[in-house]
Symmetry: C2
Subunit: 215 residues, 2 copies
Amino acid sequence: MSPRSRAAAPGTRSRILATAAEEFGARGFAATTVDRIARRARVNKAMIYYHFPNKRALYTTIVRDRYTTITDRLQTIANEPQPPDRKLDRLIEMLVQSIDEANNFLPIFLREIADGAVHLGSEELALIAGIFATVSGVIGDGIRAGVFRPVHPALAHFTIVAPLLMFRATAPVRARIRAVRRVEIPEADSATLVAHLQMVARKVLSITDAERAKV
Amino acid sequence: MSPRSRAAAPGTRSRILATAAEEFGARGFAATTVDRIARRARVNKAMIYYHFPNKRALYTTIVRDRYTTITDRLQTIANEPQPPDRKLDRLIEMLVQSIDEANNFLPIFLREIADGAVHLGSEELALIAGIFATVSGVIGDGIRAGVFRPVHPALAHFTIVAPLLMFRATAPVRARIRAVRRVEIPEADSATLVAHLQMVARKVLSITDAERAKV
DNA sequence: CGTGGTATTAACTAACCGGTCAGTTAGAAG
DNA sequence: CTTCTAACTGACCGGTTAGTTAATACCACG
């Protein structure tokens, strides 16, 4: 692993990965050229093919890194000894934070959904499945424990996660719309976004007094 | 407008448009080749350039068609003489129906968001802005009329629209995940989806007895 | 000192892709 | 029957792109 001869130029590989992440994030897989990544990373193109077998492997390496980071954090929260409603609040907070700190992730994720995940193998698919399983697992636990209303688990998952993804992802488009048309589109900082999503989760999932009275 | 000479082969232009919509929907703008569209539409490539100035114009023609259809339907509902909560229910129903009847629209829309709408001009951006303005306008009306809670208008819009888009858009990925891993991901038909979204809208926006008591 | 594996490069290739162009076909108009 | 023109075609082109190759610079270690 560690370079034994010819002192590896500090972080050639990681510089390639960082630049590639920017490019794939901004342009998508097909529109991103290896030549451009090489130029921007100040590296010969053959260097990319020395460190990675092909364009696709370079891409999936980035995707896998991003997904595992989020998966680990999710699992940590899911395993904490706390009630489901508190876990869900923490999950929302963490997801917003994770997305805000890596802005390449969102466009890559969205395009992969649009493409039916054609660039991903079973390993990356399993990571996505894990993210879904963790969030909807917490909701399912809450329903079984009687603290959440019995809603459709998959739809409940999307009710919480989708607005977060879409609101953050559409920020550049909102900016462009503001530039051409005078449409009032209010923005929201991270704290406002987290508070709103937690409020939605509470309103949708918590059992009302009227419902409690029936039992 | 009407062909004066050589009876136009019935629907050459519309066959190009239909095939192109499928290709752009399945692969995205960059990964779609004009040669492939021509081949699949059983048309000479030069024919495409006879009917459309370039690849981009072919693409935006499709996007504009889809957006105007939805915009028209939205406006019709928004102008009906009904209370905001009823309008919102109808809006949700119509959006689900519109997305289900044109399955190319969603992946194209998602990729355009991921790309920061680089392939769209001010005309197409204005159409998107109109969709946003209509939905969040109905919510804003409800808030001002005192029938909805005072929530963040943009976030409320995404709370309703985003889960719908993402749930439908992720269907192919869910199918692939099911094929490789044994993860329980329940599906939902249109009626269930509509009912869930209307429930979410009601839970998030309607004023509770406790809140009413304060006033 | 030299040897062997690592890191790096310039130059190259085969395939592909968007777009063009010179020319053909066939129906309608006069 | 001639003329006009919208609709259509095959062949081509300049430029780009993923991926390759053969050679070289560099350094640890024996």
